[in-house]
Each structure stands twice: as C-alpha cells, then as structure tokens.
C-alpha cells in the first residue's frame, strides 16, 4: 500500500468500498461502474421477512452482492475471511494493517461509536475500509463520512460480530490478482442485460413488478387504522430508500451515471442516453414518492393512499421502459 491513503466519500457503502479497493490495488473503477457492472440496481419487497416488524424493502441487490459479483464478472480473485471469534479477527486485522494492506470490513452501524446517535440502528451490512492503526484505534475510511475517522479496536470488533439479519461474522475482504486485459465492451453488455432481466422478472416481489406489488399494498392501507402503525409503515418505506439507501432515488441516479460512463465502450449511445434519462426520471419520481409518504405521516388525516401508490407505479413505468430498452443493447 502506498504510504498515503486518501479517503473519499461515496453515495453507497458497498460500491464505494469496492471502488476504492479495486482502484487501490490497480484497477481504476468508479463507484457507478462498480454498481453497474455487478448489476446491483434492484427492487425487492418481501413482506415475510420482517425488520422491526416492518417488511423488507430494498432498492438495490442484497448486501454482499457487489463483493461476490465483482469477482465473477471481472475475474478478480477476492480474498474473503470470516472468523469464529473477535480476538482472532482483531489479531488478523492488526497484521494486515501492519503490512500496510488495505482491507474492507462488514459491520453493524449500531456499534460504531463515530456514527451520530440517531443513525445507530441494527443494520448489519455496513461496509468500511481500514487503512491504519494508532495505538488501539483503527484508522477508518467510512464511505458515508466526509472525513476519515478513528474507531477503538474493542468497539470495531463488537461491530464486526453483531448478531441478527445479515450478521457479518467478522467478514473481511480484499482483492488479489486483478486481470489486466479486460474486455469491457462485452462485460458491460452482459451486466446491463443481466440487470434488465432481474428488473423485468415475472416474480411479483422483485423488480418492476415488486414496485407495483408494494404500490398495491400501500393503496390498500386503511387510513382509519392505527395512526402510529401507518406513520411507522410509511416512514419505514422512506428509510429503506433514503437512509439505508442513498438520497431519494439515489440508486437510480447511480445507475444512470453508470449508463453514461459506459458510453466510451463502443455501445449504442443513443439507447444508453435514453435509458439513463428514464432512470433519472424514476429517481426523481421516487423522491416525490418519499415526500408524499412523509407528508402523510405528518398529517395522517390527509393520507391519500392511492396518490402515494400511483407515484410508485409511475416510477415503475419509467424503469420498465428503461430496462426494456436496455435488454436489447448490442
């Protein structure tokens, strides 16, 4: 590792960490490229899986998708380690840091002391980078933060061994053997087609159809039911999008950026521009959708279930159009 490591801030933790890792180990790849090449844009609504009694809603592929797919898609070997206990994990990490080797970690936000109190919830799939150690403090590059931060080893270990959904089990990773002559034109095409397939899946709880299933569920919410439940339900949808996600339709903007960036790889640029623009529209619509959800939670008596549901359907239409185009990319 070069002596100087420079921290950068990203829109999403996993794509940010993987982008930094690859760039650091020799393959310069931006965050949108990492996100797009791993076909990470998604929508999932799984009412049977409950988080704090609320359904699982995700606006991107599930955690670890990027780490797992980046090796498959680009033929990069990624060293992945999990540990039985914290002592072993901490000793190993210290060794890597002493060798000046940059590594990524999966952690729980709840146990990271440098996070603001209001943001500390039991979300177990937060990714960050460790690039140094000072006494018992690790030097951490957390993609959500503007500046690099410090974290005591005891607390970091606790965050690495949090239990529950997506329990990290001390998960640590870094790339090895990055191939040089990658044929980006064909890799990009495959990645886009794959994402189109997953967004257009007939399975009703994922992709475009998943968005409509959630819309239907919202339109059936009874405005006269328990206001506390309604408020929690509506803001939960927003939190999954905004906080666990990234700023409004953030993942849509991220994918739109990817479609712009791949234009240099000799593809149908007109089609890419059109799809990119449609995803920006979807991102903006999702943001309006979030705003409607929040407005309704503030004034439950003005809650208009159909209006909110229609916004989500509108976003799904843009995405359907975009991915129907992208499916045909040559």
């Amino acid at each position: 590792m070069s002596e100087k490591f420079e921290h950068s801030q990203f829109a999403h933790c996993e794509s940010g960490v993987v982008s930094t890792l690859l760039t650091h180990y020799g393959l310069k790849l931006s965050e949108p490229m990492v996100f797009g090449l791993t076909s990470s844009l998604s929508f999932v609504f799984l009412p049977i899986i409950k988080l704090n009694n609320m359904p699982l809603i995700a606006y991107r592929e599930l955690p670890k998708n990027i780490i797992n797919k980046v090796s498959k898609v680009l033929g990069i070997e990624i060293v992945k380690k999990t540990y039985k206990n914290g002592v072993e994990a901490n000793n190993d990490l210290t060794k890597f840091v002493e060798d000046k080797q940059l590594v990524g970690l999966q952690t729980s936000v709840f146990y990271l002391p440098y996070f603001p109190k209001d943001m500390r919830f039991h979300f177990n799939a937060h990714n960050l980078l460790v690039y140094g150690k000072e006494g018992s403090d690790y030097k951490i590059s957390d993609p959500v933060f503007e500046e690099a931060v410090l974290c005591d080893e005891k607390e970091l270990t606790r965050a690495r061994f949090a239990k529950g959904v997506f329990a990290p089990k001390g998960f640590m990773y870094y790339p090895k053997n990055i191939p040089t002559n990658l044929d980006f034109s064909s890799i990009v095409k495959k990645a886009i087609k794959k994402n189109a397939k997953s967004m257009l899946t007939p399975f009703p709880y994922a992709g475009v159809k998943g968005m409509r299933t959630l819309a239907k569920k919202i339109s059936k919410l009874n405005p006269n039911s328990d206001p506390r439940y309604l408020k929690n339900y509506l803001t939960h949808i927003v939190r999954m999008q905004e906080e666990i996600g990234t700023g409004g339709g953030g993942f849509r903007f991220l994918y739109a950026a990817f479609l712009k960036e791949v234009k240099k790889h000799d593809l149908d640029n007109e089609l890419l521009d059109e799809a990119s623009s449609l995803l920006v529209k979807s991102g903006n619509t999702l943001r309006e959708f979030a705003l409607l959800c929040v407005e309704s939670s503030k004034k439950i008596d003005k809650f208009d279930a159909n209006k909110i549901a229609e916004k989500l359907v509108e976003a799904s239409k843009y995405e359907e159009e975009a991915f129907k185009l992208l499916k045909k990319i040559q």
Partner: protein, 131 residues
C-alpha cells in the same frame, strides 16, 4: 436530460455530516454532491421516537408488574425480538417469555448475564431495575 435537484435542507439526525448523492453538472456529466434532506430527517426521527415511545410504554408495564427490565433494555438498544434472540443465542419464544415480569423473576444469573452482556450493562442493572 432531466435535472436532478440536490436538496440543501437541514438534517439534524446527521450531526453535521453531509452525505453525497449523484447529480449532473451543466454539461450533463454525473458527479457527486453533498446534500441534506428534511424528508430523510423526518423518517429517521420517527424511527428514533418510536423506540422512545416503546420504552415509555415498557416502563408503565414494568410498574404494573407486567413487563420485565429486559423488555426495557431491548428497546433502549433499539432491538426487536428476533435481533435480541439472535444476540443472546436463544429461541424467540424463550426470549419472549423473559420479557414478562413473572418469568423474569425466576431467571438465574447465568441467563441474566447473557442479557446483561447483550445490553453491555452489569447484571445488577437488570436485577435492581427501578422505574
């Protein structure tokens, strides 16, 4: 190309941090920009406040002899039943029983210490819990 607006509202839940999002510049090229969203702020505040309400309700129920201090600390640590069960390594139905005062009173130190560890507190804080 449609514009992407970057909100510059206050978000108190972030303690002064500004997150980034992707937007386009005047030439239509994508770049990152810091933003602050009051929509995001509100959603986070609701989730934080919900745990405060749950804690208050739990205290009321402890007074009445219905709920146990484990329930209070579960909410204090922003956990739900599946998360707590996973942390202490017990089945959910068992943990659910321990949330009730009459069952809590019968617990031995070994079980209590598992909970104390999960909440990062001393076992006495559970045993001598005062409302």
């Amino acid at each position: 190309m449609e514009k992407i607006e970057v909100p510059q509202e206050e978000n108190k839940t972030l303690d002064g941090i500004k997150k980034v999002m992707y937007t386009t510049d005047n030439d239509g090229e994508f770049k990152t920009a810091n933003y602050g969203s009051s929509v995001e702020e509100f959603a986070t505040q609701v989730a934080v406040e919900e745990y405060e309400v749950l804690k208050q309700e739990s205290l009321e129920n402890i007074k009445k002899g219905l709920s146990s201090p484990i329930e209070y600390f579960m909410f204090e640590n922003r956990m739900d039943l599946p998360t707590l069960a996973s942390v202490v390594g017990m089945f959910q139905f068992r943990v659910k029983r321990h949330l009730r005062m009459n069952n809590f009173n019968k617990l031995n130190d070994k079980v209590l210490s598992k909970y104390a560890q999960a909440f990062n507190i001393k076992i006495e804080e559970l045993k001598d819990f005062k409302v």
